[in-house]
């Protein structure tokens, strides 16, 4: 797109004869100032989030009797307060990683289905449906997960226990399946649409010439995809997965409804227990006193930094890719 020169001096090195034409109009100055101000407001909000959370977190952490990183308990309302985020960090990371591992291959599959396998007319509708599903609120996923998915999982889990129970990770005691694994599965379902829609866009951008060249060499459809589409879209898939990971890390309601929380690290992913940052904040908030709130905010700060890191990395990959392709 051509850059638009507005009221700068006329070209050709001529000295501006009428002086007022080079002067910025007051309307322009006000409008550009306003829009710049709005942009700066966004930056200020981001900074304010970090600052305010840090202030409250500092209050909580300095009063904390336990070690903020390694304590396995959450007694923030006690006097003196005693809490740590070890369990929450574990639960958050584990459930999100389960979600990623399950969702990314399936999402890549759907994206390929929409971009390369589905009949053209169906493909448009499918893309549209996927976008609609991204709009379903998390609380509804949570309600469905708690009341429909959890009872469905018990059979599957006792099956897993039968064959893989010896690993310890898949041990199962036939209690309701309100565990990190169920949370991971639900999160996987929730982040599918976002990963799919980003991946699909990237796959669509594969240069047609590459694909046609591969076809002309006699490649099968899968070989075309493996040789042209996947290498071209690799960084896109990585960044899409990280965006999905960011979503999964910060998801609150779906976890709060499905997980039966307990402040312990359970080696078995199928048995209930554990917790995540967001879930812990949502479920402890109503009982928290002022110190309890500060402690929750401290854990929120960790979550904020975690998602900032993941999202920032994803965006950097996308930005680098843009420079590379254009």
């Amino acid at each position: 797109m051509p850059a638009i020169q507005t009221d700068s001096s006329p070209p050709g090195g001529l000295e501006p004869a009428p002086r007022r034409s080079s002067a910025v109009r007051p309307g322009d100055r006000i409008f550009s100032g306003l829009s710049k101000g709005a942009g700066i407001t966004l930056l200020v909000i981001m900074a304010a989030i970090a600052v305010f959370l840090s202030i409250r977190a500092a209050v909580a952490i300095s009063a904390n009797e336990g070690n903020f990183l390694t304590t396995f308990e959450w007694d923030a309302n006690a006097n003196p307060p005693y809490f740590g985020i070890a369990v929450l960090l574990f639960g958050t990371v584990v459930s999100s990683v389960i979600a990623m591992v399950l969702a990314v291959p399936v999402a890549v599959g759907i994206a390929l289905f929409i971009s390369h396998y589905a009949p053209r007319r169906v493909a448009g509708t499918l893309g549209y449906v996927v976008d609609l599903l991204a709009a379903v609120p998390s609380i509804i996923y949570g309600l469905w997960g708690a009341l429909f998915l959890v009872p469905q999982m018990t059979g599957l889990y006792s099956w897993l226990d039968q064959f893989f129970g010896w690993t310890g990770i898949f041990a199962y005691d036939n209690t309701p399946a309100r565990s990190l694994m169920t949370v991971g599965i639900l999160l996987a379902i929730m982040i599918l649409p976002i990963i799919t829609s980003v991946t699909r866009e990237i796959f669509k951008q594969t240069p047609k010439a590459h694909e046609e060249a591969a076809l002309a060499l006699g490649a099968t459809r899968w070989e075309v995809i493996r040789m042209t589409v996947l290498p071209f879209g690799r960084s896109g898939v990585i960044s899409a997965s990280m965006l999905g990971l960011g979503r999964a890390l910060g998801e609150t309601m779906a976890v709060a409804t499905v997980l039966s929380p307990a402040f312990l690290i359970n080696i078995s992913l199928l048995e209930s227990g554990g917790g995540t940052f967001a879930q812990n904040i949502a479920s402890q908030f109503k009982e928290a006193g002022s110190m309890g709130r500060d402690a929750l905010i401290a854990s929120g700060l960790v979550l904020f930094l975690l998602t900032l890191l993941v999202n920032g990395a994803a965006r950097l990959i996308i930005a680098r890719r843009k420079e590379f392709t254009s």
């Binding site: 829009s35 910060g250 905010i297």
Partner: protein, 381 residues
Amino acid sequence: MSDTVKDTVKSTGGRPAGSGAAPGPEGPSERPGATAVLRNTTLQQPRLPRWAPAALVAGSLGAGILIGVLGDLDSRIQWGLIAAVIYLTATFAVTTVVEGRRQAVDRFAASLVWTSFVVAILPLASLLWETIARGIPGVSWYFLTHSMNGVLSWQEGGGIYHALLGTVQQVLLASVIAIPIGLLTAVYLVEYGRGRLAKAITFFVDVMTGIPSIVAGLFVLSMWIMMLGFGYSGFAGALALSILMMPIVVRSTEEMLKLVPGELREASLALGVPKWRTILKVVLPTAIGGITTGVMLALARIAGETAPIILLVFGSNMINANPFEGAQSSLPLFVYEQWAFGTEAAYDRAWAAALVLIAFIMILNLVARGIARWKAPKTGR
């Protein structure tokens, strides 16, 4: 038949066109027309009949159900998983035997893609189905026009009027804050922004889209309620929602403004129209359809947020029409509260409210996309 077929596969070595040395079996191809001439030559590899994939799907589904019933597996998920595994291995095995290895890999990949599609669609379809089936009995005019005031958790009855009112007010307040800031930021990025500030804003808008809603809630909690000393209110919730809404508005508006052809701006500027009037009278009206779509999608997104509402609006059973003072409720929060009660009557209310919420959001989405199609910017070719 399989003998001759194997023969061909061996002799052509899986290459796409045979060398002509292989004996000429009847290729099972059923394609009529031009290829009929070639049918008896060796130019064509043996291929599975066209009904083979369908037969494989049906067969493996049947096998999955059979194993499920015989093995007394109580979860349908297991039946489906078994069927999927049988389908994938059977496809690979059959194609390897008939068509050769390369084709087998190709078919395997295709069936994997199809399976992953089905695997993803099933839970989502189930989610919608459950919500509709369990929600419809609870939705009535009474449900929409009454609050939960005086209704105990195990009692039937009650309604969502207070929550509906709260959601609408909070979402409107949030958009009053977020839309101007979002629009102006997008205008800055597209029309004015050059250099490091614009780059920083672009990056942080992207990062801001990824802020968990509960963190936005905690921020407003620490600033508005804990530091400035205001109480719980719908407005506090709206503040958090507006933080979540801004980046979405910026992103979509930016995309739309970029689509406005530069010639339009140049034409207007050439007529001596000041830049700010060009933006207001030419650029924004051209993109207004897309901008409206983006804003409505953002509205749909924040209307379903629960986490900041729990922290900031607190929830109430009574109608509170003043969003600036006192606790309110909202639809997603209502669903959560009713779920938490854990009684049958409360579950029914939760499903019914979830249905209303989903309908609300889907209508916003559909209208938004309708506007997008109707008012797509005419960029020319």
